[in-house]
Amino acid sequence: MQYDHILIRYGEMALKGKNRKHFIVQLQNNLKQQLKAFPKTKVKRTQGRMFVLLNGHDPEPVMEKCSNVFGIQSLSLAIKIQNDEADIKEAALWALKNSVNVHTFKVSVKRIDKTFPIRSQDMNQVLGRHLLSNTTGYTVDVHQPDLELNVEIRTEATYITSNVVPGLGGLPVGSSGKTLLMLSGGIDSPVAGFMAMKRGVEIEAIHFHSPPFTSERAKQKVLDLAEKLTRYGNKIRVHIVPFTKLQQHIFREMPENYAMTIMRRMMLRISEQVCKQESILSMTTGESLGQVASQTMESMNTINEVTNYPVLRPLVAMDKDDIIRISRNIDTYDISIRPFEDCCTIFVPKSPKTRPSREKVNEFELQTDFTGLIEEAVNGIEVITLSGKPDADTEFDDLL
């Protein structure tokens, strides 16, 4: 006997009225996408839940892949058997014997198929007795069992599941449209991307690259971060903007204490153009209130003036410690702390304006015509698609 299914429960999504079908199909597609490395698996939908059929693949690695998919409330390994008392007894016994660190258990039978002759309450007793009399060292605990064996007798078959693993929650990526994530290479922006994805948003990323002030390695760092995020969704396109000329111009021509504010306004303007070109409806940043000079309320107000696209700031109310904790969980922290200069750290003015005003900044910007420079930057964008495929990197294969 072996676990042959993964049972997937999707809590919040089940509530979503008319869109329900759309959410569920999206989740199914995302699961299929993530499980490409396991070619024999099949993702099936039934009433109110989803199953991954393992068809001979090892359960653990498939479970792990599934647990990175948003829109899942919880997952369990499951065995599918016929609606037959003897078969159910045998499978329940196997599941109990194959769980580790278990001393107490509880059986919960749900009889959905009312043609099955034994009622749920009675079946609980039947199975409990069977398990106790065929094992030693286990006791029943209905309040806090180490293991809860769920037996669902449905019309088509019976499913036995044991230990419930919590999923990431949220909504399936792709069910809430697309956003353009401004990815600098720091700790915050990948976390912001992760949080947006959690609400079902698909991501494209934009990065401002200023060679020779920022290096190829800073760019690689951003690509590595985006690659990490592909684990939670599908492929991610990264728009690399050649920013050197525009950035130099700002720092040469604009008052030093306003240069940073103006630079950020330029970034938003360029991002908005990319959004328009790619039919993306919002931008996402890793800003959190009060962290640095550019993230004061005044600063946000002044920078945000240049676009009427929504700017999502999933981290706005979060503490740095919480952000770092998430970045460690999603494995981006170690990449983010690689010590390369990025576009935000290279031209740091001695005393940036922490309370910039819209009037002043507009006055300064009128002194030069930035249109040509912005256009040049947008036209020079290089798009790199990260697929998240493990075998994508074969560069060193001959050496290793």
Partner: protein, 379 residues
């Protein structure tokens, strides 16, 4: 040439040498340099580490590249002792360790550490129970080898790992140098905190190796400097060496299953023929690792046999190469309880995956002849 001294060192695999050469040529930059070339070198380094961690089924950050077995053992033992001496100064090892472990313990003894040496039975194997009894409140380290380099005896490291797990205050180090590719060892959930691997015993290059350092294990480094290798081993990374090591490790792991079976087959032939040979005693126990068979020819100086075989282009060794220049007496055989006639006349034959049955037969004939010849001279 018939080379049967694979426990001393192995012949580098040509494709491993190729990797070393290519990596040296193409990726010579310092991985810590911030320019493009440094970036490429760093990327290759990361890839090498990732592959090593996949082969060993551990996390990337748990791999520290070293210069080989001696460094790995020293870093593990002194690293734990110096870092955690505040908790206690009692450390445990066995009576049959490689000199890089044994001397490290002797050195720590001179610094005031209290050492318990666990004894072995006639097969060269310790008792896990005796080791358990030796653990005290102030014990901070157990260090032992997995496979003995002279006899091939396998120590119960899995069992000791389970014991070590019961004592959260102590660390468990395994010298796995002779075990890689011969006696598989699973590190996950093993209770092992540190594990030494060397490159040149698996057809890699001298000067390469790695130490597995389980997450959360803090060591006092032997080398201070630029904080390379998670700050556990400063010094510009030996990128080409590390790449070659990882390649050697991959090639060994790919052939491991069939290779071990093949060597056991050869070992059975050797054991049968040698035990039938007049004047030869087999020292290696029945359930040993597949690649070593140790014998004694009492009455004959081992060195003379080595040179006689050497004239016919056959190479075996006396006890461990690392200690064979000192006296003739094998510390290990003495620890197993053998008398001087046997412990001073030991020879070690050690195999590789590519050793052929034909080579074994040629060696056996040559050895029988050499013994006859020398006995005639001496009588």
């Amino acid at each position: 040439m018939i080379y049967l001294d694979n426990s001393a060192t192995t012949k580098p695999e040509p494709s491993v040498l190729q990797s070393f050469y290519q990596a040296s040529e193409r990726f010579f930059a310092n991985p810590s340099s911030i320019h493009q070339l440094g970036g490429e070198a760093e990327k290759l380094m990361a890839k090498a580490k990732e592959q090593a961690s996949e082969l060993l089924n551990v996390h990337r950050d748990e791999i520290v590249f070293t210069s080989g077995g001696t460094e790995g053992n020293n870093l593990a033992i002194k690293g734990i002792a110096l870092e955690h001496q505040g908790r206690g100064r009692h450390i445990i090892t066995t009576a049959v360790e490689h000199s890089s472990v044994d001397e490290a313990f002797k050195g720590l003894e001179q610094l005031g550490f209290d050492v318990t040496y666990i004894s072995v039975d006639e097969n060269g194997v310790i008792s896990a129970e005796e080791l358990n009894d030796a653990i005290r409140d102030d014990t901070i380290l157990i260090s032992m080898m997995h496979v003995n380099n002279e006899l091939g005896s396998i120590q119960p490291v899995e069992e000791v790992g389970q014991i070590a797990k019961q004592y959260p205050k102590l660390f468990f180090h395994v010298d796995h140098v002779q075990g890689v590719g011969k006696v598989p060892l699973e590190l996950t959930d093993s209770g092992i905190d540190l594990c030494t691997i060397s490159g040149h015993k698996i057809h890699g290059l001298k000067g390469t190796g790695l130490l597995y350092v389980k997450k959360g294990t803090v060591l006092y480094p032997l080398f201070h400097g630029g904080n390379q290798e998670q700050a556990l081993r400063s010094g510009t990374e030996n990128l080409a060496g590390s790449v070659s090591l990882v390649k050697a490790l991959r090639l060994i792991k790919e052939r491991e299953h069939a290779g071990i079976k093949h060597m056991y087959m050869l070992q059975r032939i050797l054991r049968k023929k040698l035990s039938e040979m007049d004047g030869v005693e087999v020292n290696t126990p029945e359930d040993a690792a597949p690649h070593i068979i140790n014998i004694s020819v009492p009455g004959l100086k081992p060195e003379v046999i080595i040179h006689t075989l050497g004239e016919r282009d056959i190479y075996i060794s006396t006890k461990s190469a690392c200690s064979s220049k000192q006296t003739d007496e094998s510390k290990i055989l003495t620890a197993c309880g053998h008398g001087t006639d046997r412990s001073t006349s030991a020879l070690r034959i050690s195999l590789a995956y590519d050793t052929t049955e034909e080579e074994i037969h040629i060696f056996l004939d040559a050895l029988a002849e050499a013994i006859d010849q020398l006995k005639a001279v001496l009588e």
